[in-house]
Symmetry: C2
Subunit: 231 residues, 2 copies
């Protein structure tokens, strides 16, 4: 492999390890909990709306999700939901926080190989600080990374700050992730390179139409294919 890039950045959730399926599973259980009050479709739609309304105040992560679920349970039940249901929502959230971390197929081998060739690897992940640090610690792959950046958002300006902090120019940076919206487009926009690894499920908030004419861009199915691109 040639060291065409100085630093390779990896998204974490659903790029290195399983995340969204856990949130999805939690939401399914929440829909069941409220099935006396509303249809799953209505609850799901209202929950998403509330999450978006609360995003500026709560940010991404399990705790904000818990608070939005509690809020929506009260609203959709016309404030008749019992403490038993609210307690169960809190339990669902704590279970979500304590889920095991399962690496996606090919992740560790690829990191080892890239590291062996001498690439500097970093994690650039969005979300709750403690949630992300806990996941990284459970994942046991922290040792492969030179730097971990936990960001409150992943807009182009956030990536610019990151690159300035890393003291590199966009031409030296390659980002790898599963979200076109958060990992790929803002990175391409500033003139860096990006590899998209779509995941079978995406949070609604991350969904976006793929533009036709993307440059400096590759799409792959499995993380191990990065090595072929860099070959």
């Amino acid at each position: 492999m040639t060291k065409r890039f100085k630093i390779i950045g990896f998204d974490a959730d659903d790029t290195l390890w399983i995340n969204e399926p856990y949130f999805h599973e939690t939401e399914e259980l929440f829909l069941e909990l409220l099935s006396d009050f509303e249809s799953p479709e209505t609850i799901s739609r209202e929950l998403y709306k509330t999450e978006m309304e609360n995003l500026e105040q709560y940010g991404y992560g399990a705790k904000g999700f818990m608070l939005s679920m509690i809020e929506i349970a009260m609203r959709l039940s016309n404030n008749k939901v019992g403490n038993d249901v609210i307690n169960k929502i809190i339990d669902l959230g704590k279970d979500l926080i304590n889920k095991p971390i399962i690496l996606l197929d090919g992740v560790e081998e690829t990191l080892v190989n890239l590291k062996d060739v001498g690439f500097s690897l970093i994690i650039a992940t969005k979300g709750d600080l403690l949630d992300q640090e806990r996941k990284l610690s459970k994942s046991k792959i922290g040792k492969y990374f030179n730097h971990i950046e936990i960001m409150s958002d992943k807009k182009e300006s956030d990536y610019r700050k990151l690159l300035s902090h890393l003291d590199i120019i966009p031409n030296d940076f390659l980002m790898v992730g599963n979200s076109l919206k958060s990992d790929i487009l803002p990175v391409l926009n500033m003139g860096a390179f990006a590899i998209h690894i779509p995941y079978h499920t995406n949070w609604k908030h991350e969904k976006i139409e793929k533009p036709d004419d993307l440059k400096n861009y590759w799409e792959i199915k499995n993380i191990s294919e990065i090595e072929e691109i860099l070959a």
Copy 2:
């Protein structure tokens, strides 16, 4: 002023701006909300116990505080608390998140003066990522700092990681903060220097007995006195 230290680190909450009084005010309103069920002393004690039990899962910050208040409201009411009270707890939490940022006396002048002499200033603060970024942005003093480190905890090992990231040795680092437990003792333990500015109110979790024989340590009443110490 002599540039005896390469980098001066500042804690943020209750060192640069008012924070704990807002949490205290929120707790007072919460005690009132539950006054039908228990005495203020019992609620306060149980709330703190629950916060500590949840700390590993929720970390520091407003969202974890909200979830612990909801949990304790249900438990202390024997699961009889109404949705009206839980809605009010959520409102209290959102109000807390949206509080204005008021700088403590002397902060901006001191930062300007230290910056003028050529010191590198950083913020090393513990808490929720989005909460802390929001506060910093509202404070308008971000421009004085070369680096902002938002940490999930402030143990000696966390400071060691920070210094390694900043590429300096403990002898070149001075930390300024209001918490003996989080800002002073771990920093002195690793051989760096620390200035303690006690604040009139401290969260119970941060209270600790002051050892007698502290070295490389100063205690001051106002942040502007830093300039005299460095003179």
